[in-house]
Each structure stands twice: as structure tokens, then as C-alpha cells.
């Protein structure tokens, strides 16, 4: 089992001056006009019987997904871009209901700190409570606490069968209640779409129970805003949207400002950033 060498990456990040990081630029790209580094890329190892895979942070998600498919597995990261980018941004895709949030995927990360040191967070096994949960803090931190160098992520088995279904309805919760552990339930105000996975007969029976018919997939997701709201508030959505039922993420055509955070929570987040990057040199100007 090889280990990715992070020495060069750490030296590039260094210990002084503003620095930003780029993957494939699919999730916003690097901070403009700041010295830019790239993490190592490539799959280190795949362990199907451990349901884990290790790779450089700049490994494209699609490359990882293709490699895992050879072992009958996949990873619950949104497609496109790099593994590091998907983790740093932390946004799940529409399969979140069944596959869980991105933050549950990361088991171990080695990152380069603001001091230019390689720091290990978490551990290689699927179960681990040794020390504080730094990996969860890194997911969604947009690089402000450290730049991901290499990671060990949890995989999941590819389903035997996977199919989208749809039906017209103005009450998505009725459909939602009928299904057992659907992978995704989407609603646009007039129709509901569900992604069901598993044994083909179970999938067909579930769809029939909910009165749904097979379809190619959900409509394209509006890209005006990705709103995160209490799941109970989904039913009150208006305008043009596709909402993730049971999750509370709404893809809307209109822009949106997230509600102001609890001031004490914002102060805590600022304290964490200050502790881990006192001079604010990592991805300066990025708001988390």
C-alpha cells in the first residue's frame, strides 16, 4: 500500500503569505489574484472488503467513481470536479436522502496547515472515535482551515438496480411516507420523482405502492440558488423550484441569501479559523 508524499505540496503551500488552491474549478475555483497551489492527484489504493479508498485530493470524482465501479462500489460524493473540492465545499447532491451528507464520507484527511505542516485528521477505519472530529470540520470549510492533501473516504456498494419514478402530486409527503429508504425524493410543486435502488422486484413493488411510473430522471435542477431550509418548510415552497423532500434542500430559479447565523455560532466559527489559521492566509476572503 503506497502512501502519497505530501512534502512537495506542503512546501508549495508554505508558511507565509496568502495562498489559494485549485481543483478543476467546477465549484467556484481558486481565490483570484492569490498564489495558487494544487493538491496531489491519483488513487493510492482501493480496499473493497474495507469499503474504503485512498486518493490524492485533486483526484477527479468521476475517475474515483469509475475505479470503484470495477469493484462494484461507489462513493457518496457529488459528480464532477475533484474529491478535495467536493469535500471542501461539502454540498451533497440529490441522493443525499439515501446516501447521506458529504461529511459522513470522509474518514481520514491529511492536510497542509496554515503553518505549512502536514496534519492528519481522523483515521483509516470506517468506525473511529479517537480524538475530536476534525474531519467533519474540514468538510465544508472551503479550505480555510487547511488544504486537503490526501484522503481516505468511505465507499458504498453499487445497487443491484437503480431507477427513477414519477407521478403528479401536490402532496409529496404522502409519497414520501409510502417509500422505504428511497435514495431521493424530489418535488417541483406539481410532480414528485423518486430514485429507488435495490432488488428489482422490491423497486418495482415500491413504485407500484406509491403509484409511480418509471421515468428517465428528474427535470434539470434550477441553478439560481441552492436553499437549505427546514424539511418541514418544503411544502410551502413557491416559484420555480425542485425540492429535496425529507432533506430540505431546494434548487430554485431565484437567488437567495441564507439566513443570518446565530451570532455566537459565527463567533465560534471565527475562533476556529483564528486558531487554525491565525493570519487568515488560506483562501483569504472566503466566507464560511
Amino acid at each position: 500500500m503506497g502512501v502519497i508524499d505530501l512534502t512537495t505540496f506542503a512546501a508549495e503551500v508554505g508558511a507565509d503569505g496568502p495562498v489559494t488552491i485549485s481543483g478543476l474549478g467546477t465549484r467556484g475555483g481558486p481565490v483570484p489574484e492569490v498564489r495558487c497551489v494544487r493538491a496531489p492527484s491519483g488513487i493510492d489504493w482501493v480496499q473493497p472488503d474495507e469499503m474504503t479508498v485512498a486518493c490524492g485530493a485533486a483526484t477527479p470524482v468521476d475517475e474515483l467513481v469509475a475505479a470503484l465501479a470495477e469493484h462494484g462500489q461507489t462513493v457518496a460524493l457529488p459528480p464532477g470536479g475533484t474529491v478535495g473540492g467536493a469535500l471542501a465545499v461539502g454540498h451533497s447532491d440529490v441522493r443525499r436522502l439515501g446516501y447521506g451528507p458529504v461529511r459522513d464520507v470522509l474518514l481520514q484527511a491529511r492536510y497542509v496547515s496554515a503553518a505549512g505542516e502536514v496534519v492528519k485528521a481522523g483515521g483509516p477505519t470506517v468506525k473511529n472515535v479517537s480524538g475530536f472530529d476534525l474531519p467533519r470540520l474540514l468538510v465544508g470549510a472551503r479550505g480555510t482551515l487547511g488544504f486537503l492533501g490526501d484522503v481516505i473516504v468511505r465507499t458504498r456498494p453499487l445497487p443491484q438496480h437503480s431507477q427513477w419514478f414519477t407521478r403528479a402530486t401536490d402532496d409529496p409527503s404522502a409519497t414520501f411516507q409510502l417509500l422505504y429508504k428511497p435514495i431521493s425524493v424530489l418535488w417541483d410543486g406539481g410532480a414528485v420523482w423518486a430514485l429507488l435502488e435495490g432488488h428489482p422486484t422490491d423497486v418495482a413493488e415500491q413504485a407500484a405502492l406509491a403509484g409511480m411510473v418509471a421515468c428517465k430522471g428528474p427535470p434539470p435542477l434550477p441553478t439560481g440558488s441552492r436553499r437549505v431550509i427546514p424539511p418541514a418548510a418544503v411544502l410551502a415552497c413557491t416559484g420555480r423550484f425542485v425540492a429535496e423532500v425529507g432533506v430540505g434542500i431546494v434548487h430554485h430559479t431565484d437567488p437567495w441569501e441564507p439566513p443570518a447565523r446565530d451570532a455566537r455560532a459565527a463567533a465560534l466559527a471565527a475562533a476556529l479559523r483564528h486558531e487554525l489559521d491565525p493570519s487568515g492566509r488560506l483562501n483569504p476572503g472566503i466566507d464560511v
Partner: protein, 482 residues
């Protein structure tokens, strides 16, 4: 060097202030009661200065503010079932017991969420939502008595966490009292709140980041169908290899537990479930889900087990038989009292494929130290639970128990594993953290702690070895390994 305990006058002044803020009988300083709270379910004792029982968030804030004013550390405590000394108070700390905050505040059956107070017992929550076809997925063996607040503090696991994930995957939001007495909301019912995942950072922080006073939990749908089966093997290796083969075949059973021969024999003598006492190892496998996938998985699991030499395969025919098989697993710790009066339960994780090798080492280590071990563990996620049984009245036995324990931990980490899968670090494994983490790694964890608790009064001296816990003075309590 050991820090002297807080002066009696400080403790008295703090107690007087607490009696003004809480009903007077919720503040206890009697020697008998302090003795009851000097440790958790570990063997590690400390010393409580005061024990108090707040009934509301405001009372918890008052307790914390008073402690902060007097410079006395506080230790949040649920049911005290922790096994790593995480709730053991040191230096006459203030023990803040959350057991009276035990209400389920609200349940959203449609979106499968509930807000609960930290003192709600794990199994009580599941019972209260059972009529909705829901349950709280993490199911530690102590689920009848452990609290949700304790589950949050330790990021607890359990047999059914194999497919559903540990506590961290089931906590959406937290209301937390920080060590300065301020109140903060971390996460909420919203799936992906804007900003850093502070809620994720808090789960598993072993009481060192603050006190959770409200918890928003995710509830899980009960499976439409469940199959529980027992397979026995002539060797431990064959059982362990079956575990890896099941996972590699693309199945994640609801639970995948293993018991070795000594454990099976102890359990069988206790519950008379007709367990195969001649077998070297027994696998308890539970598959849950929709009927067709479930039957296909059961068939494949039986096939894999048989290919690895499974002797008999017993499939529970009804709920009563299923309950009996699980009773065997969950009462293992009670059953061992028939062998020896005391036990020390360990908790490490190794990569699944290393299970045979590490189990061989465990038997060798224990034999060398002239002890007995029963293995009963979450094989599906490589989470070992060697249970050393002994009679502590035997002179010198504790030294042997600790020496063997340390070797087991070292062997697990050397095999590519980790220090703890679900019990946490607490005091028990604090000084083993450098086996897994270097100075820079530990410094980052210490920085997290400082951001949440700059004063360092929330359950100090736990988790982080002393060199990393800047400002904390080394303290070696009674019963610790170090």
C-alpha cells in the same frame, strides 16, 4: 506534578451560589453522593466536589457561569455508562448531571426528526417513537440506560451502526451551553447549515466543548422485514474471513456480530438459547429491508458462510427467536459474571481483513499475562471488544490486566487500526493518542478545544495527552493505565 484539588472554601462558595440558582435539593455535597459520582462505568476514579441536577437550559447556564466565576472545572454527565473515564470528575470538579432533563420535546414524524433533552434514555426515545414506525438508530449495548446526551458526547455506536452509521450521522442540531455560560445553536433541522459544521465538530467531543441541552436527532424508518441468523465456525479465522467476504460481496447487513467460544459458552449457560457451545466462533447476522432483497442477501450470506466452513446455520423463525439470539449478544457482559467477578472491556478497531491476525494476537497476549478473554464484538466494522475477566482480589491482577490492555491497543493500531471505535478516549486512552497522532495532529485537536472552551474548564484533562493540552496540568487518577 499534580494539581491540588480546589480549596474547600471555593467549593463551599460555589455550592452556596448553586443552591441559590437551583432548587436546594438539586445541589449535593454529601460524601456518599459525591462518592457515587467519582467515576463513570470505567475503573477510573476521580473526586467530585459538588454534584448538581439542573432541570432546564437556564439552570445549566447558571451552573456553568458559577463554575466559571469560581474557576472550578465542570463535568457534564448523563447516565454514567461511559467506559473510558470521560465522565470521571478530577480535582473536585462540579459534576453537572443531566438526568433530570429527560423530555422528548417534539417529534416530526413526516420528516423523521425529534428534539430531545440530553437526559432522555436511548431506548426510551426508540420506544416513544415506535408507534410511528421509527427508531433512533444508534444502539449501544447500554441502550436501556445510556442517555442521548452521552451518545452525543461519545459519538456512540452499537451493533446496528454497521448499516446506519454511528451517532454523528443521526444528530442534526444541538443547543449547547459553552464554558462561559453562553448559549449557542449548532446546526438545526436544516440539512446543511451555512458555515463550518460546528455541530459535527461537537459530536464526540467528550464533554470538552460544552454541554448539549437540546438535541435534534434523526429518526430512522423501521425495516419492513428483518432476518436474523446465526452461523457457527470451527475456527475464529473462518468466522472473520466470512465477515470480510460478505462485505466484499457488496452487502452491508444491518448488523454483523461475532462471539468466540468462551463467550458463547458463558452466554448459553446464562440464557439457554441453544447456542452452539462447541463452535470456536459464532456470527450473528441481521439483514433488514424490503423482502426480495432481504431474501437474496440471506441466501448469499448463507452461501458465503457455508463456503467458509460454517457448521450450522440457524435462521430465527419468529420474533421471539430473534429476540433470544439478540439477548445472547446483548447480555454477554452480564453472563461473564459467572466466570469471574470483574471485567475490563476494551474497544479498538482494525481493518476487517486484519481481524484474524489481531484476534490471534489478542489470545496470545492474554495467555501470556495469565488472564482470560471473551471476544464479543462488532465484526462488520472491525470493532473489537476483548473482554478481560478477572478477580480483582487476586494480588497483582490489575497490573496484568492493564499490561495486556495496553498490548492489545498497540497491536490494533500497529495493524492499521484506531484506538477506539465507540467508547471514546476519555482518561483511559488519553496517553495513547500519540500512537495514532503526531504533535501537529494533536495540536490541531487542541486548537479545536481552545476555540470552544478558551478557559479550559469543560471536562479538562481528557482526550488530549498533556503535552498537547496546553495549560492543562498532568493529572493521573486512580485506576488509569498511565
Amino acid at each position: 506534578m499534580s494539581r491540588s484539588a480546589h480549596a474547600a472554601s471555593t467549593i463551599e462558595a460555589l455550592a452556596a451560589e448553586l443552591r441559590a440558582a437551583l432548587p436546594a435539593n438539586h445541589v449535593r455535597t454529601g460524601a456518599t453522593e459525591l462518592g457515587l459520582y467519582e467515576r463513570d462505568a470505567s475503573n477510573i476514579s476521580g473526586a467530585a466536589g459538588i454534584v448538581c441536577f439542573p432541570t432546564s437550559t437556564a439552570e445549566v447556564q447558571a451552573c456553568v457561569r458559577a463554575a466559571a466565576r469560581h474557576g472550578v472545572p465542570f463535568v457534564a454527565r448523563g447516565s454514567g455508562t461511559g467506559l473510558a473515564g470521560g465522565a470521571t470528575p478530577l480535582d473536585h470538579a462540579l459534576v453537572i448531571t443531566l438526568t433530570k432533563m429527560d423530555r422528548v420535546l417534539s417529534v416530526d414524524p413526516v420528516n423523521r426528526l425529534a428534539w430531545v433533552e440530553p437526559g432522555v434514555l436511548n431506548l426510551d426515545l426508540t420506544r416513544q417513537v415506535a408507534h410511528l414506525g421509527l427508531h433512533f438508530a444508534p444502539d449501544p449495548s447500554s441502550q436501556q440506560s445510556c442517555s442521548i446526551g452521552g451518545n452525543v458526547a461519545n459519538n456512540s455506536g452499537g451493533p446496528h451502526c454497521l448499516s446506519d452509521g454511528v451517532t454523528a450521522a443521526h444528530i442534526l442540531g444541538l443547543e449547547v451551553v459553552l464554558s462561559d455560560g453562553s448559549l449557542v445553536q449548532l446546526g438545526s433541522t436544516e440539512a446543511e447549515p451555512h458555515g463550518l459544521d460546528l455541530r459535527g465538530a461537537f459530536v464526540g467531543s467528550e464533554g470538552m466543548f460544552g454541554i448539549a441541552t437540546k438535541v435534534c436527532v434523526r429518526l430512522t424508518q423501521n425495516a419492513p422485514a428483518v432476518r436474523t441468523l446465526l452461523m457457527d465456525f470451527a475456527t475464529v479465522d473462518a468466522g472473520a474471513q466470512t465477515v470480510s467476504a460478505i462485505i466484499a460481496a457488496g452487502m452491508v447487513p444491518a448488523a454483523l456480530e461475532m462471539m468466540d467460544q468462551l463467550c458463547v459458552q458463558a452466554v448459553e449457560a446464562y440464557i439457554h438459547a441453544g447456542l452452539p457451545t462447541e463452535a470456536a466462533a459464532v456470527l450473528l447476522v441481521e439483514v433488514a429491508g424490503l423482502p426480495h432483497g432481504l431474501e437474496a442477501d440471506v441466501a448469499r450470506i448463507v452461501e458465503i458462510g457455508t463456503a467458509h466452513g460454517a457448521g450450522t446455520v440457524r435462521i430465527a423463525q419468529d420474533e421471539a427467536e430473534r429476540a433470544l439470539l439478540w439477548k445472547g449478544r446483548k447480555t454477554a457482559f452480564g453472563a461473564i459474571a459467572r466466570i469471574k467477578p470483574n471485567y475490563y472491556l476494551h474497544d479498538t478497531v482494525v481493518p476487517r481483513r486484519m481481524l484474524p491476525e489481531v484476534l490471534r494476537q489478542v489470545y496470545e497476549i492474554v495467555q501470556r499475562h495469565d488472564l482470560l478473554v471473551l471476544n464479543v464484538f462488532h465484526a462488520g466494522d472491525g470493532n473489537l471488544h476483548p473482554l478481560l475477566v478477572f478477580d480483582k482480589r487476586e494480588p497483582g491482577v490489575m497490573e496484568r490486566v492493564h499490561a495486556a490492555g495496553e498490548e492489545i491497543v498497540r497491536a490494533s493500531v500497529a495493524a492499521g487500526g484506531v484506538l477506539s471505535g465507540e467508547h471514546g478516549i476519555g482518561l483511559e486512552k488519553r496517553d495513547f493518542m500519540p500512537l495514532m497522532f503526531g504533535p501537529a495532529d494533536l495540536a490541531a485537536q487542541a486548537a479545536m478545544r481552545r476555540a470552544f472552551d478558551p478557559a479550559g474548564i469543560a471536562n479538562p484533562f481528557k482526550v488530549l495527552p498533556t503535552a498537547a493540552a496546553c495549560g492543562d496540568v498532568q493529572h493521573v487518577p486512580e485506576g488509569a493505565w498511565v
